[in-house]
Structures are given as C-alpha cells and as structure tokens.
C-alpha cells in the first residue's frame, strides 16, 4: 500500500501543478510547476523524502517505457517528415555537439581546469 499512498502525493501534486498552470495561463507546463512544488516541499521539510521516494523511484526507473506511445505517434505524421528526416538527424547531431562543447567550455572557464574535489 506504500506505493498507493505515495502515488496520492505525487499524482496529487501533478494535478495541482497542472491546475495552477492552466488557471493562470502560464507558459510553464503543469508538470514543471508540480516538480517545483515537490522540490519546495522537500526543501522546506514539509514533506519527507521517505514519503515519496518509493513511488518516485518506480516512476523514474521505468521512465523510458512511458515514452513509447508518444514516440509511436510518429506513425500518424510520418508522411509530413518523410522528405526531411535526414536534415532532422543532421541538426540533432550538430547542435548537440555544439551545446556539449559550449557548456563544457563555459563550465571550465568558470570552475578552472583542475578538479580536486569529488573523488
């Protein structure tokens, strides 16, 4: 029953976040609002880690599985991207390499090249 009890909290926070996002017409999606609410509750110790950890672990351990239907949706739009999939692939690869380099270089410029801690 532990999972069910924790599901009430996590699913409930998601509902609340979604409701806030839609009611206030925010550009920030409801699931992110929910995530920030949970983070705030944990940080302020209003909610203990043990009260949500099992359900959160279940959801995150199986995260990849939950994306299958969203990916399968490609079936209904395949005709639209048939001619451009190679461009899409190329853009993804190039921009990822650029982002990785830029982020790493910036972090190193700010942190210094040597890292003594964290071992």
């Amino acid at each position: 029953m532990k999972l069910f009890r924790q599901a009430i909290i996590i699913f409930g926070i998601y509902l609340l976040g979604d409701w806030i996002s839609k009611t206030l017409h925010w550009m920030v999606p409801g699931n992110i609002v929910g995530m920030l609410i949970l983070l705030g509750l944990l940080y302020s110790k209003m909610l203990k880690l043990e009260q949500v950890e099992a359900m959160a672990g279940f959801l995150l351990d199986h995260l990849a599985f939950f994306f299958i239907p969203a990916g399968v949706g490609i079936l209904s739009i395949y005709a639209g991207i048939q001619g451009i999939w190679l461009k899409l692939l190329l853009i993804c690869v190039i921009t990822t390499a650029i982002t990785m380099t830029a982020t790493g270089k910036m972090a190193e410029a700010l942190l210094g090249r040597n890292n003594r801690q964290g071992e």
Partner: protein, 237 residues
Amino acid sequence: MEYLTDNLVFGIVLSLAAFEAGLWISKKTKLAIFNPLLVAIFIVVVFLIAADIDIETYNQGGQFIHMFLGPATVALAVPLYKKLDQLKQHAVPILTSILFGSVVSVASVVFFTMLFGLEHEIIMSLLPKSVTTPIGIELSKQMGGIVPVTVLSIIITGISGAMMAPAVIKLAKLKNKIAIGIALGTSAHAIGTTKALEMGETESAMSSLAIGIAGIMTVFIAPWVYQLTYGLLFFWQ
C-alpha cells in the same frame, strides 16, 4: 483479431512486450544505437503497420502509459533534491554554465533549422531536443510543435550525444570532471548521463543534476531565445 486488438489492454501488452524486446536487444548488442526505447518504438510501429492496426486502436491503451509522464516529471524533483548539496558547493558557475548551454542549444537549433529551410512547426518541435523527454514534450506542446518529432529528436540527441561525448571532450580539451558532467547532462539529458556514469562518480552526479536544471531553465528561456535568434537571423538575411 478485432476482439484482441479492440481492448484497452492490447496497447499496454504490445508496449510492454516491445520494451522487453528492446531491453534484451540493447543488452545483447551493447550498441548505443539500439537504445531500448528506440527499438521498442520501432517494434510497435512495425507491428501496427504489418498487422494493419489503426493507431487509434493502439492508443486506447497507449494513453494509459502516456498518462504516467506528468507524475514522472514531478518525481524528477526527488533526485534533484538529493543532489542539491553538490550544487551548493559551486552553485554560481554550475547554474551559469547550464543556463549558457541551454541558450546555446535553443539558439543553435533555430539557426540550423532556418539554415535548412525547415517549417515553423519543425523548429518548435526541435527546440526542446536537449532536455529530458517529459519536459521536452510539454514544452513542444506549449510552443506548437509536433510531439512525436520532439520525442524522436530527443532520443536521437541523447544517443548521438553519448556516442560523440569522448570525441567532443577530447577535441574541446575538457579536463574538469564537473564541467564534463554538466556538459553531458545539459546537451544529452539522461542518455548522455549513462555515458557520464561510465566516466566516474563526479561526472555522473553532475550530469544528472544538470538534466533537471537544464529542463527547467529551457522551459523559461526557450520562447525568448527563439524570438531573439529568429529576429536576428531575419534581419541578417
């Protein structure tokens, strides 16, 4: 056949079986390109086409699986909370680099999609390609993108990021472990983090920390960075 497929459970069983097969193939081949999710999507798509089953029929069950994404995003707060201590040590440089990386990600997508002459909808679908999927999907919806294109671009980004990481680190001459971790998590989300996991504890902790933060930051900056880059390119042309 109709009695079999016209049941909520059909889409769920098909997805579970496809994911199991995906995990198995990924384990056997140990190749990044055989990402379990990518393989599972491929299997479901091929099965639906081969058996001539309508996607609406599959989605009767599929929507139940999809429903878990919202709460799963909320759950991302838990690992983020656990890593807050590590963030505190170098909060300013880490947050600045992730913010910078997220801006570069969105701006470079706008630049290259416009260079290749792609439509507005496709640009919107690719904007969140470097962030974790549950956040990316919502951002794509919010900006008017096509969700399946977003999902696939996120997976391709993750896989190619993990594959390119050793070469990029070498070419950019990155040495600092924190910097390497942040670079992987910001550019290639959870799949990039699996690569960071092979490199060491600092790298993987920083990479997974960066996933959530980059996701949140991208949600806030994407609309602005898009408009700014679009505007600049428009005048430049």
